[in-house]
Subunit: 282 residues, 2 copies
């Protein structure tokens, strides 16, 4: 496994493989890798001649006051994990090499970036799609895999790929969970023991909603209220949002569920903000 | 020569060539081709295995009230001209295929798009860079050629290419002029006989400025005033802007010229807006 630090070197590596007709699969990450990331890498690995993983904590997707400075890092551990799943290249650029002086062009997603996480993080998805486009141009993948935990991110990226005619197949990998149901996230490392114990309320509330829908509940407001009540019963948990939306357009489900839709929530534990989601089928 | 109408077909054509290690040169146009375009095609042709020309009047770069509906068109003539310079493919998409329902992602240039034409056309360069990125992703060129008459456009595109890590070499082709000095432009077709006669004032005023600089004038305000006075002496001409700017950053030259800089102007003749520019070397 090779580690490439320079964007230009990454692009040359990829250009040479593509000109030989070889295929590249790509998993972009912010590092501090966990089994969720590794599952995406395994999905990607079998779909191309080469697997590239990027590790880049992208400053452009953090607003002032968010956790850019404290985002957890473990370079040595990450490299070992990438090697263990058979990555060919880990691309590990610096912020200065990705955003040199004079950088000014941005990609702007449209209405898909507005609801859910976009409401409390209004510039987040601008930073996400800009860096993903840059990474795609450097890594030149035929296929890229993103986790479904960041469901809105996945849909915003899919929309960018379609809108800008990127020749990349985007796949979504399933959410990987701890035995108690908590979705794996690098940000779980921020939680105190007490917060970690209560964080199970996210996935629990999604499970409760799913059961309620299975037993006939189809009123969106009732389902949202059930989730909200379960989460707020946990003293450290503060709801950022609980929403039921169309899983393609991310527009709110009004009235009753008539088809599959996405139940998504974000919950704060102190300064730590966790997200989770589930597709509900009425 | 092949004509391709569908974006997906264009991308497949390009993907197959690139996977065989073949190279592609690209000249994007809005059609109604003139010798200026053809000179860019000749520049491009010698730099790759294949020459692709696109013809697409891009609605995204026209503001309401601009000349989208009346932009001159000559499909048959354009195809003959492309064939005459040895184009392999003319890519001729429809607006609906480039911007299908749900399209929402945009590319936004930064401060480079603010001055000069950006002042009177504030959304113009958003539309330009968005369509150029889409076209690059469909045509997959190694090299693309743009005219220097649209100097700001060339610099905004170069900045996008650098900022978003596009693996495309961008070349600027020289301005081609009529015998009387008027820069070739598809929009010259809008001019009445009287306006066409007066349109020579753009290139004339650039020539006067160049002479004045050659004879020692280095005060930016004096040079701008000279140009403005020459243009406004023509009764049909209305100045949109006359500016002296750094030719990389497009920031105004303050005080005196200390190195090469760009003298750029836009002039309206009725509803027709013409631009021209020259690099001045003190």
């Amino acid at each position: 496994m090779q580690t490439i630090l320079e964007p230009a070197a990454m692009q040359t590596w990829a250009r040479e493989r593509r000109a030989r007709g070889e295929t590249i699969a790509f998993v972009p990450t912010m590092g501090f890798l966990h089994e969720g990331h590794l599952s995406l890498m395994r999905m990607a690995r079998d779909r191309a001649d080469h697997l590239i993983v990027s590790i880049f904590v992208n400053p452009l997707q953090f607003a002032p006051g968010e956790d850019l400075a404290t985002y957890p890092r473990d370079e040595a551990g990450d490299l070992a994990k990438c090697a263990s799943v058979g990555a060919d290249v880990v691309f590990f650029p610096t912020p200065a090499s990705m955003y040199p002086d004079g950088f000014q062009t941005r990609v702007k997603p449209g209405p898909l970036a507005g609801p859910l996480c976009g409401r409390s993080r209004p510039t987040h998805f601008d930073g996400v799609v800009t860096v993903v486009l840059k990474l795609f141009n450097l890594v030149k993948p035929q296929v890229a895999v993103f986790g479904r935990k960041d469901f809105q991110q996945l849909q915003v990226i899919r929309r960018m790929v379609r809108d800008l005619d990127l020749d990349v197949e985007v796949l979504g990998g399933p959410i990987v969970r701890e035995p108690d149901g908590v979705a794996l996230s690098s940000r779980n490392a921020y939680l105190t023991g007490a917060e970690r114990a209560q964080a199970v309320c996210l996935s629990q509330s999604l499970g409760l909603a799913e059961q309620r829908v299975a037993s006939g509940e189809a009123t969106a407001a009732q389902i949202i209220e059930l989730v909200r009540a379960h989460v707020t019963a946990h003293p450290s948990a503060e709801v950022d949002y609980v929403e039921l939306v169309d899983s393609e357009e991310l527009t709110p489900v009004v009235g009753t569920l008539t088809g599959p839709c996405l139940l998504a929530l974000a919950v704060r534990f102190g300064a730590t903000r966790l997200i989770d989601n589930r597709v509900l089928v009425p």
